[in-house]
Symmetry: C2
Subunit: 196 residues, 2 copies
Amino acid sequence: MALGDAILACLTERPMTGYELAKTFDSSIGFFWKADHQQIYRELSKLRDRGYIQGREVVQTGKPNKLVYTLTNEGRTALRHWAARPSTPASNKDDLLVRFHALDSVDLEPVRADLMARLEHHRDRSERYERILKKRFPDGTASEAADIGNLLLLKLGSRHEQMVAEWCEEAIDALSGLTGHGTTVVPLEDGKREKG
Amino acid sequence: MALGDAILACLTERPMTGYELAKTFDSSIGFFWKADHQQIYRELSKLRDRGYIQGREVVQTGKPNKLVYTLTNEGRTALRHWAARPSTPASNKDDLLVRFHALDSVDLEPVRADLMARLEHHRDRSERYERILKKRFPDGTASEAADIGNLLLLKLGSRHEQMVAEWCEEAIDALSGLTGHGTTVVPLEDGKREKG
DNA sequence: CGACTTTTGTCCGTTACGGTAAATAACGGG
DNA sequence: CCCGTTATTTACCGTAACGGACAAAAGTCG
């Protein structure tokens, strides 16, 4: 259970509903952990079954009632125990990079298109990180533990995106150099026989 | 299927056995894609069933016979088709980073220990990348597609490890600043009740 | 009335991960 | 001679994760 722990970690900040968590996993913590709403609700059920979180129903008018989840002491303890175990380095697993490993066996256009999309994506993220950094830590320092954690996270994110964005530019350059001019025509010798 | 495609990508270089692939996934391509031998053998069966690869048994004396897998034309085509589809940006999913999101709710010692281990790990990798780079591309350039792909891969890997290693140092610094001196003692109020 | 949003779920199928184990056979150390 | 390691492939099993489709309930907006 790792997604579960990520959820627990989120709930240390404040009690949240599944819906809110799903939103959170789409932004802040979502920058380094993706999870859709089904996953989150499923995981919430499990966490509740284990007594790590507690749901409090909030009656709403105009909207369905919502379930605000709060960490229990057991949950806090579980999180601490989990956090005390050595972490696994986590592999990257990037489709795009696999393509580069077989660059001479794939068509270059899509790779290039992908790179352009990535470049934009990483630039975008980089800017978002920078914006948040400037807003939350104008002087680039923090003193409380929670803040320090987030500052470091933001710095890492920012640098990562920056670095990858630069790499994308370089890669695009290198690929264009491969063909000299805009469009490549890779001879599809066995392309005729299409695919079984 | 993504692991399958990673395997196909590996096999574009040369025919390999499952055992060799497992080794490969423990080094070169393994730098950005982890897979153990069970996964690989399972995936190889699937790929064979689909006709993407072809196994040739090599009788050995002294060792069990081995199955050398070769890409079929169908496999090549499948790889190319897969590579032509836009890639998914791939989320990082790092345990350690989750901890930083809840830094005030976890014990710092293990986090610090983790960081030290990571620092070593990333430095190690960084050096490995650099060594390979110097060896394979002494002048930092490449002309053939396959080489360019690997050059770019190595550059990305190297920079990534470098960057993360530096971040680890910074994080260790920041954490030590948190407590002023070597060892922190976080009061474990509910640690007594152990865990249900 | 119908479409859309908010909120909370369920069901189902696939992919992936990873531990344990086993068969087979040589080679090398104590 | 037993044991551990290397090389090689494979099976079984459980859990984690992913993600599409669907539903239900209550408001709002057009």
